[in-house]
């Protein structure tokens, strides 16, 4: 069965620190990959997505993610976090041609001012 793993459950960083959140998935076929963010009290919003092509994708608010097919990974990065990045981050996978989206357990990021 498909699954998505996010190994960091809680991350605390100071402002200006660099961020990398891990995401690994298990599925043998081709996939679409997503990172969503949930700010406190708000709904999940799309940060970025990968369908095909350049494995390094750029999203909103300075976030980027790299798809490494051989490692089944889609890690999220940001070179310099801000206090406003405090949120929960979810990785999600969709098998191409299907309509099922599987989410990871989420990583709660706290950025200290």
């Amino acid at each position: 069965a498909q699954s998505v793993s996010q190994h960091n459950h809680h991350v605390i960083l100071s402002e200006a620190a660099s961020l990398e959140l891990g995401c690994n998935y298990s599925y043998g076929g081709t996939v679409n990959l997503f990172w969503y963010v949930q700010y406190p009290g708000q709904h999940l919003q799309l940060l970025l997505k990968y369908f095909s092509g350049d494995p390094l994708v750029k999203g909103i608010k300075g976030f980027e993610a790299e798809f490494i097919k051989s490692k089944f990974s889609f890690n999220l990065r940001k070179p310099s976090v801000q206090w406003s990045d405090t949120a929960e981050y979810f990785c999600a996978v969709n098998s191409k041609g299907t309509y099922k989206y599987i989410f990871g357990t989420g990583t709660r990021l706290k950025v200290l001012a």
């Binding site: 679409n32 969503y36 709904h43 999600a92 989410f103 989420g106």
Partner: protein, 116 residues
């Protein structure tokens, strides 16, 4: 910008009561979903709905759950007889659906259900 709306934002109910959570998906979207998130846990898939029928459901989505699109705009999740373990945030999502690259899900703000 079009958005998915959900009501109520918070509902408190007694165990054994029926609950209906409502969602208005984005108007030109074709697939609709319910997910739930128990506090501190992952976002879990419950059910997807397309062309007025369930397209897929998870093991969580047992006979206590049902979904309906009673008119052209609403998409509802009914829990027939709530249990304590149904306490969670329930998210509705919709998808426009475009072939192999099916696009991203658009989420509502969630309905928090508390079962006492």
């Amino acid at each position: 910008e079009p958005e998915v709306t959900q009501t109520p934002s918070h509902q408190v109910t007694q165990m054994g009561q029926e609950v209906i959570l409502r969602c208005v998906p984005i108007s030109n979207h074709l697939y609709f979903y319910w997910y739930r998130q128990i506090l501190g846990q992952k976002v879990e898939f419950l059910v997807s709905f397309y062309n007025n029928e369930i397209s897929e459901k998870s093991e969580i989505f047992d006979d206590q759950f049902s979904v309906e699109r009673p008119d052209g705009s609403n998409f509802t999740l009914k829990i027939r007889s709530t249990k304590l373990e149904d306490s969670a945030m329930y998210f509705c999502a919709s998808l426009i659906a475009r072939g192999a690259n099916t696009g991203e899900l658009f989420f509502g703000e969630g309905s928090r259900l508390t079962v006492l």
